[in-house]
């Protein structure tokens, strides 16, 4: 069994799976049950001056029969008194010394207020602090949350205030609602942060009730923008985590749509040292951690990785600038006619939505008719054909094909050497006879 023990900037936990700051980590009862289920740590739901929440608070978006592909909330930080939260945190830490208890904080942007809050919080015996500079709704309008995390100078300044007094590691949680998240990551690092966590939720409006015209989630017929999360945001989070991993040296706690062990492994491969989960727990409960751990362990064993650190960041080097991608790499689609069920989704996708490189077979002249009934679909032989000379290797057909492994993209040997856009412009410049094409990637 691979070693899942995690040390995140000095915060130790038996595995990398932490409850993210949110409703599942709101009370001692929940956090202790989560630890009993196997969670390695928890980031306590943001503590600060208690707020008043609305009903309703959450919205979901489904895809076909899959519920809650995306999720949003207009809930604010903890609505419980600071003393209650801190007392419970101390109690949990006493009972679960091996587990990581991190406290998310958000207070008024004044130095003395932060100092006071940090000291009170650390008196609980907690393992670390997470500064909530990311909450996109409700708090940002009051000069907190994303209002801090969207301005590099504020981020550096407030992180600095916290570090002046903090004795435990300080993690800065980043908002994705910004054009370049790495600027804030760097600002946090400069402020002395011991780690960063991302992404917080994304600004969103979940939808509109087409009878009442109230946006969702509805609060007496009105709604407000809320934080979007859940499986749908994972690709955004992966991009931002990998971008930050390239820019900062401090560890990264990955957040954003993690629901399964492959999700977790991808975050680790792109540089995450710990993993935070909220929406999936809100959907299915604490029990999901069992397969997160079991599946990740099995994967690491299969790959003969002794510990999570062997996997960490392994894919970062493969995240390249577009200008460095090989323009001479060529793949084309290949349809396995034994597996094809003849739905023609690849055909219509390519014909209408891509590059017209697939032909239907048999044609639409009615050559498959009722005479075929009673025979298996295999006999209907509705296997479309790739027009190899036309195929641009875009993947679309393979993506829409409902049958696993039916359409695969096969590499085609070309005589041409590896040649990226940057190689090309460099070559043109060196030959001197063609004006250099401007490049955004700089290194041309």
């Amino acid at each position: 069994m691979a070693d899942l023990n995690t040390n995140f900037a000095g915060i130790k936990s038996p595995n990398p799976f932490w409850l993210a700051s949110g409703p599942p980590a709101n009370t001692a009862g929940q956090v202790m049950r989560a630890f009993d289920c196997g969670w390695g740590g928890a980031v306590w739901k943001t503590v600060g001056e208690p707020i008043i929440n609305t009903t309703s608070r959450y919205g979901g978006i489904d895809l076909g029969s899959q519920k809650v592909m995306g999720f949003n909330n207009i809930e604010l930080i903890s609505d419980r008194p600071i003393e209650d939260n801190l007392r419970e945190i101390a109690e949990v830490k006493k009972r679960y010394p091996r587990h990581a208890v991190i406290v998310s904080l958000m207070v008024e942007s004044r130095r003395e207020v932060w100092h006071e809050m940090v000291k009170r919080t650390e008196d609980t015996g907690c393992d670390g602090l997470e500064l909530n500079f990311g909450c996109p709704h409700g708090m940002s309008e009051r000069g907190m949350g994303a209002a801090v995390g969207q301005v590099p100078e504020y981020t550096t300044m407030i992180t600095g205030w916290v570090k002046e007094v903090a004795r435990t590691p300080v993690i800065v949680k980043l908002t994705p609602n910004i054009s370049d998240v790495t600027k804030i990551a760097v600002a946090a690092e400069q402020g002395g942060a011991d780690g960063i966590s991302l992404i917080n939720t994304i600004n969103s409006l979940m939808g509109v009730d087409l009878d009442t015209f109230s946006p969702r989630p509805s609060v007496r017929g009105k709604s407000s923008h809320g934080g979007y999360c859940g499986p749908a945001v994972k690709p955004i989070a992966l991009h931002m985590v990998s971008a930050c991993a390239k820019r900062v040296k401090i560890p990264i706690s990955g957040i954003g749509g993690i629901a399964t062990w492959p999700d977790a492994a991808e975050f680790v491969a792109l540089g995450a040292s710990s993993l935070q989960v909220c929406t999936a727990v809100m959907h299915y409960g604490f029990r999901i951690v069992e397969d997160l751990i079991d599946g990740l362990n099995d994967y690491l064993d299969r790959k003969t990785f002794a510990s999570l650190s062997d996997l960490r960041g392994i894919a970062i080097g493969n995240v390249a600038d577009w200008g460095d991608l090989d323009l001479n790499y060529k793949i084309i689609a290949d349809i396995n006619s034994d597996l094809c069920i003849g739905c023609h989704l690849c055909y219509v996708a390519c014909e209408d939505g891509a590059h017209q490189c697939i032909e239907e077979f048999p044609g639409r002249d009615g050559s498959v008719q009722l005479g075929m009934l009673g025979r298996s679909n295999r006999d209907l032989a509705r296997v479309p054909r790739i027009i190899a000379d036309e195929c641009v290797g875009c993947n679309l057909c393979a993506l829409v094909c409902p049958v696993p492994n039916c359409i695969s993209m096969k590499e085609v040997e070309t005589e041409n050497p590896v040649m990226s856009w940057n190689d090309r412009t460099r070559q043109q410049r060196n030959e001197g006879n063609v004006p250099s094409t401007p490049s955004l990637w700089g290194n041309a």
Binding site: S65, C343, L345, R364, Q369, R382
Partner: protein, 448 residues
């Protein structure tokens, strides 16, 4: 035809349970889940497998988006009897049999039930999707009020024709009303579809039978064209001694009772033999069992592998506890006091090979079953007399000869479709033919 020994009566609840819908309606969430399972194939095999070419992926997609009215419009535009087809179509050998899911080892999409879900929605909510067209001055009479005539009439009415349906039965709908197993569809379902056609302005003249109180000459004078959707006639006779005994029924005569009478009033013997092994024979044995007859025999002169009934129909009969006598041929209906008390049969075997193989009795292999009722399910005879009375019409092997493109007969005033043309097929085939004939008529008057 008094039966002496009748099946023990059941309570009304027990009858209702026995004849409950074998494929119950989807709940909204079931429908949504099933609709979402559909891959939305392009140029889909299910549509190609449908005789009426319903755009199946389109109507299923609309169910998944909650556009049930649009879904029903897709279905009913292609097939005005979409309600009954959703219930009675042999989907296993049509759309669902062609579903690509079969190729991936998954259950095919339940297209029939989804179709029924969408159509029931508009009917239950009394949503009118179609209206009579602007009158074009042409008049058409349809003879018979079964699926072929209903489809032909509806199509013509939408294009502005004045259409009247002449039918010998007291209630409209033909076999859709009278001839479909009660656990698949009730007469009221069929009548709801008749109403749909009525709403298009089609006039129904019930109780009008050609050769009795209706002369074709009258129709010829009044109408520009006449569509024959007369179906088939009486069940074939056994031509056996004892056939005239009380307790010998035709298959349709028996089924009809289960459709128009309360179940407790249906004539059914305590012990029943059904002769034949087609889909109608299955309807008879299952009806007899569900009416509490026991034992119920199915008697067929060939083996199980040659039975004309669909496989899932056979499964139904097996589940209902029917006793099968394969390779057995009736030779005499046995009676006592003018009433059936048994059926004498002889074992058969195949003589010869391949196509020329013939079923022949095995001498000395006689056996008898004690029964109180015998149901003849040997298929229906053609309406030879009626057809022969029309100048220019031809029959080929008992089927009205038509131009397959236009469905026009040898007499240019007459068009035909449905069982009288195809020899007896499914509701959906009759609909397809009725619609084809409507297009043929439209073309004949120069419409497009």
């Amino acid at each position: 035809m008094p039966l002496v020994n009748i099946a023990p009566k059941l309570s009304p609840q027990e009858y209702e349970r026995n004849f409950a819908d074998i494929s119950p309606a989807f709940t909204p969430s079931q429908a949504k889940i099933e609709a979402n399972r559909c891959l939305y194939c392009f140029d889909a095999p299910c549509t190609k497998a449908c005789p009426t070419s319903i755009d199946v992926p389109a109507f299923i997609k609309k169910i998944s988006t909650g556009n049930l009215k649009g879904s029903a419009r897709v279905i009913l535009s292609a097939n005005i009897l979409g309600k009954s087809c959703g219930r009675v179509c042999p989907t296993e050998v049509l759309c669902e049999g062609a579903c690509v899911m079969n190729g991936s080892g998954e259950k095919p999409i339940e297209i029939g039930r989804l179709q029924r879900y969408a159509v029931d929605y508009v009917m239950d909510h009394e949503i009118r999707l179609f209206h009579a067209g602007t009158p074009n001055g042409h008049r058409v009479a349809c003879v018979g009020s079964g699926p072929a005539s209903l489809a032909c009439a509806a199509e013509l009415a939408k294009w502005g024709y004045e259409v009247e349906i002449y039918d010998r039965n007291p209630i409209a709908g033909g076999l859709n009303t009278y001839g479909i197993a009660a656990y698949k569809m009730r007469a009221s379902d069929s009548l709801r579809e008749v109403k749909l056609v009525e709403e298009l302005g089609v006039k129904f003249r019930q109780g009008m039978e050609v050769g009795k109180n209706l002369k074709l000459q009258q129709l010829e004078e009044k109408f520009d064209f006449i569509f024959l959707g007369v179906g088939l006639g009486e069940t074939w006779d056994l031509n056996l001694p004892g056939e005239e005994l009380d307790g010998v029924y035709g298959a349709l005569e028996f089924i009809e009772q289960t459709k128009v009478e309360p179940f407790e009033k249906v004539d059914v013997g305590k012990r029943v033999a059904v002769i034949g092994a087609g889909n109608t024979a299955i309807d008879c044995v299952t009806a007899a069992r569900r009416l509490n007859a026991a034992p119920v025999y199915m008697i067929y002169r060939r083996g199980a592998d040659s039975m004309p009934a669909f496989k899932y129909e056979y499964e139904l009969a097996k589940k209902d506890g029917v006793t099968f006598h394969w390779n057995a041929q009736p030779v005499r209906v046995v009676g006592q006091g003018g009433v059936v008390c048994g059926l004498q049969c002889v074992r058969t075997h195949l003589v010869g090979n391949g196509r020329s193989a013939r079923v022949e009795p095995i001498a000395g292999s006689d056996f008898s079953v004690e029964v109180d009722m015998v149901v003849k399910a040997l298929g229906q005879q053609p309406m030879t007399e009626l057809v022969k009375s029309i100048f220019g019409l031809e029959l080929n092997a008992g089927r009205v000869v038509i131009n397959p493109e236009t469905h026009q007969t040898g007499n240019s005033k007459y068009f035909a479709g449905g069982d009288c043309v195809n020899g007896g097929k499914e509701v959906v085939d009759a609909v397809a033919e009725g619609m084809a004939a409507a297009r043929g008529i439209h073309r004949a008057v120069g419409g497009r």
